[in-house]
Symmetry: C2
Subunit: 144 residues, 2 copies
C-alpha cells in the first residue's frame, strides 16, 4: 500500500491508532547493547557492582527501552505506506527500573497531527505488567 503525498496524516494515522511491541529481555542482550552503544555503565551488566546500588541487580538501559518504544511505533508506521522518521521527543521520563528477565509491553498511540509540518504526535508508554516504566511524547516526521 502506498499513500499519495497529499493524503492527510490524520487519515493515515487516526487519533488513537496504536502500535504495540512485547518482548522478554534476556540478560545477554544488556551486554550486547553495551557493546553496540559504548554505554558501559556497570549498572547494566556487573552483578557485583549492582549489589552496591539500591537496585541490587542489573537494570536495562533506558535507551534500550526507548528502542522497544521505537519498535512499537514502527509496528504502526511500517504498514502505513509512507516513509516516516523520528523527529524527536518533547519529554521522556524513566519512571521505574526494568530488569533482565522481565517482559515489556511497549505502545505508541497517536495523539495529534501537524498537517502543515507533516508531523504525527504520539504517547509512548512502556509497561511491565501494570507498572509504568517509561512515558514519552514522541514526534514522527513524514519524509516522502
Amino acid at each position: 500500500m502506498t499513500q499519495a503525498s497529499d493524503t492527510p496524516l490524520s487519515t493515515i494515522f487516526p487519533l488513537g491508532a496504536e502500535g504495540r511491541y512485547r518482548r522478554r529481555i534476556a540478560v545477554a542482550e544488556l551486554k550486547s547493547f553495551t557493546d553496540l552503544t559504548g554505554d558501559d555503565d556497570p549498572i547494566h551488566w556487573d552483578e557485583a557492582f549492582c549489589r552496591t546500588t539500591p537496585y541490587g541487580r542489573p537494570i536495562a538501559q533506558a535507551i534500550l527501552l526507548l528502542g522497544y518504544l521505537s519498535a512499537a511505533s514502527v509496528r504502526l508506521t511500517a504498514v502505513s505506506g509512507v516513509p516516516v522518521v523520528s523527529l524527536g521527543y518533547d519529554r521522556i521520563r524513566f519512571i521505574t527500573a526494568v530488569f533482565a528477565g522481565e517482559e515489556i509491553d511497549a505502545r505508541f498511540t497517536v495523539t495529534g497531527h501537524d498537517e502543515a509540518k507533516r508531523r504525527v504526535f504520539g504517547a509512548a508508554e512502556l509497561r511491565v505488567g501494570d507498572r509504568l516504566a517509561v512515558a514519552a511524547q514522541h514526534i514522527l516526521q513524514r519524509v516522502g
Copy 2:
C-alpha cells in the same frame, strides 16, 4: 573514589564538565541494533527500500544515537564515585540523519543541578564533523 551522600552535586559534576564519546558506525551494527530493539524499519538496513526515500541509503537509528550520547555521559559519571541513572529528557531533536560509515562525536556537558532532588542537567549533542545531528536536554538522577 567514593563520594559522601551529602557532597553537593555541583562539586562532583561542576558546570561545564564534559563526557565525550567518539565512534565510527559500522553497517553491521545497524542490523544488530535492529535485532536487539525490534525496531525493524527497513530505512535502517534495506538498501533497496532506502533508495526510494529522500535519504537514499540506510540511516542510523535515532535511538542508537541516543545510546552514543549515554556513553558520553557515562564517561563523566563513571569516574564520579556516585551511582547515577538517567531520569529522562526534556527535549530531543534529531536534526540531521547519520549514515553508516560516518564517525560520530557525542558530548554531554553539565548545565545545571537540583541539589534537593539530587539531579544533574546536561546538554547532550552529537555531531558528525561540524554537522549537529542530535541535540537533547538530559537529566541524571543520583540514586545512592
